[in-house]
């Protein structure tokens, strides 16, 4: 654990009644961008809430910039939080809302509007500055929440599923802003259950599964692990058995299964080769593909693999 860690968890556990959300996690998170990866229910949100001082650890300790964040107003000023279920005052405009946030954090009255507009423009929301929040789309509201978290330029940014509901162009901008803050020496912790989302922002990841920290390290190594374990590719098409026949000579394909009348599952250890071959073979055999999915390319499978539950 780094001695200069911006965020530090020591034997941290959090439970609700008999349900354990986070179990005995000890880790130090340095400045820069770090991904907090885990499937739904892994304990990511509980962790972020304790870090932002909204909840107390049931056991152990959380330290943000060396201080306990629980109801610590002085520290709260330096923590920016964007939650997936955060609250926005619908009757205000984004500029007013961010201005209110900035005033609470101690920014001078006369400077709040300029700073709020600047933050909104950083997220390409110049057009929405003076529109009421209740007239904005879900994706735009999410970006307003992000602009609000970023506006004060806090030392620590805790972002819970920040890309939820955002269109691809805005995603690129958001990822860019997150990386900028990381490069500027801020500590940015981004939670997600989508590996490639986090990969686009950072290489440093924490993997949380069923409340336990199962891995802490480089995202590329984790990606390699995902590619090595047995993989299934589900293809929904009009003639699944014919597609299987067309793919049978591929060395990367280890077997087939037919979970339904319209789906064939290819079993492979080289998913990239398979993904490339499926459209070509289907075209040759004049088979119409309706959907191509990978049930194993999910974090849930990766975690099962990491904790030894996967076959």
């Amino acid at each position: 654990m780094s001695e200069t860690a911006a965020i530090e968890l020591r034997k941290f556990s959090k439970w609700y009644g008999r349900i354990i959300a986070v179990n005995d996690v000890s880790v130090g998170i340095d400045r820069g961008v770090t991904g907090l990866l885990g499937p739904n229910g892994a304990g990511k949100t509980s962790l972020l809430r304790c870090m932002s001082g909204q909840m107390r650890p049931s056991l152990g300790a959380v330290r943000i910039l060396g201080q306990d964040p629980w109801r610590n107003p002085a520290l709260a000023r330096d923590i920016g939080l964007c939650t997936d279920q955060g609250w926005l005052m619908d009757e205000l405009t984004p500029a007013e809302l961010i201005g209110f946030d900035l005033r609470l954090r101690g920014v001078e009255e006369g400077k709040t509007r300029d700073r709020a507009i600047e933050a909104l423009e950083q997220f390409d929301l110049g057009h929405a500055v003076d529109r009421r929040i209740n007239t904005l789309s879900r994706g735009t509201r999410q970006r307003v929440k992000l602009a609000q978290a970023f506006a004060y330029d806090p030392e620590v940014l805790l972002l819970d599923e920040p890309l939820t509901g955002i269109d691809p162009v805005a995603r690129a901008t958001t990822v860019k802003r997150i990386k900028e803050r990381g490069a500027a020496g801020r500590c940015v912790l981004v939670s997600s259950h989508v590996l490639h989302e986090v990969e686009s922002m950072t290489e440093q990841v924490l993997l949380l599964h069923k409340g336990r920290l199962v891995a802490h390290g480089n995202a590329m190594e984790i990606r390699d692990l995902l590619d090595q374990h047995p993989h299934r590719i589900a293809v929904e098409c009009d003639r699944p058995r014919d597609l299987a026949r067309a793919m049978v000579d591929l060395p990367s394909v280890q077997g087939f299964s037919f979970p339904s009348e319209s789906v064939v599952e290819l079993h492979t250890k080289q998913p990239d080769e398979c993904y490339a071959a499926v459209p070509a073979r289907a075209l040759e055999a004049n088979i119409k593909i309706r959907r191509l999915t990978s049930p194993d390319a999910t974090l849930e499978m990766l975690f099962r693999y990491l904790v030894g539950e996967g076959s």
Binding site: Q54, R71, P73, A76, G86, L104, G106, Y152, D153
Partner: protein, 299 residues
């Protein structure tokens, strides 16, 4: 449209202390309360009602003063009429002017105060506030103060105006100063009512995230003891007057009479009311404090 990416902009301005956050939340809440259509309607009707009441006092008073001066050549009769006028234009009228606004203050606390914290809990707004440099005290003051300000103005405007009107009407009788001085008790009584009702309603609003439930609690606290005491009082012909001790509204009016130096209408005295009023204010603040300081913000 050309896109100019200004990139990362660090904040380098001054960072003010968080103690001014009371005012930051209060100013926003004043705006939010005014933005509510229901509140606007209540405030406008309260304003019209206050103007009508003051105008009625001024009109009727002026008519009577003029009539008295022209009424008779008999000095004794004129003096008698003047005394009656002085009795009519007294602190009772100022008190009645404020009490007449009580219905609007109650409506305001039911419409806004009784849901203040409940709505924030329901909307997960506490996540927003307590992830900022906001303490429980700052938050509570920020919720109570704006409501108290509106309640205070609803009460104080007719109260002070009626006192001033009385002062100007009785100028000829040398009572201008004494009647104008009723402005002070009018302000004090308005303050008591606004603090009691805003603190009580906001505190009670912390009891549940269900806004209807907290509204029912607050309405219950205001009206159930009053109704029970009233019915029992009527049935027993005043044998259980002490039941009124449980009614914050009756106790506030009892204190109001004492503030205006009017004698109590029954055996209960002004100091009896202090216990009830302290219990309502202190109890609701304590409840809200407990809920806010111990409850974790779970979404």
């Amino acid at each position: 449209m050309p896109i100019s990416d200004r990139g990362y902009q660090p904040y380098e301005g001054p960072r003010l202390p968080s103690r001014r956050n009371n005012w930051v939340i209060t100013s926003l809440e004043l705006r939010r309360i005014w933005a509510s259509l229901l509140v606007k309607i209540v405030l406008i009707i309260a304003g019209i009602w206050a103007i009508l009441r003051v105008a009625w006092v001024a009109g009727v008073g002026y008519f009577n003063v003029t009539l008295t001066e022209r009424a008779s050549q008999d000095a004794a009769a004129v003096e008698q009429l003047r005394q009656r006028l002085a009795q009519a234009l007294s602190s009772d009228l100022v008190l009645a002017g404020i009490d007449g606004q009580l219905v609007f203050v109650i409506l305001l606390t039911l419409a806004w105060g009784s849901g203040a914290i409940a709505t924030d809990v329901r909307d997960r707004a506490l996540q927003f506030y307590f992830a900022k440099p906001v303490t429980e005290r700052t938050y509570l003051l920020g919720k109570i103060t704006p409501l108290a300000v509106y309640c205070f103005f609803i009460c104080v405007v007719p109260g002070t105006l009626i006192a001033l009107v009385e002062g100007s009407l009785l100028q000829g009788q040398g009572l201008a100063a004494s009647r104008s001085a009723l402005v002070l008790p009018a302000i004090l009584y308005s303050l008591v009512l606004s603090v009691l009702l805003s603190v009580g309603s906001v505190g009670i609003s912390s009891l549940s995230r269900n806004r209807l439930l907290t509204l029912a609690y607050w309405a219950g606290i205001l009206f159930v003891p009053l109704a029970v005491a009233g019915i029992v009082d009527l049935a027993t012909q005043g044998e259980f007057v002490w039941l009124y001790l449980a009614s914050p509204l009756t106790m506030a009016r009892l204190l109001g009479r004492a503030i205006f130096r009017l004698s109590a209408e029954g055996p209960l005295q002004w100091y009896h009311s202090l216990l009830t009023l302290a219990a309502v204010c202190g109890g609701s603040i304590w409840l809200a404090w407990q809920r806010l300081s111990k409850t974790e913000v779970v979404g």
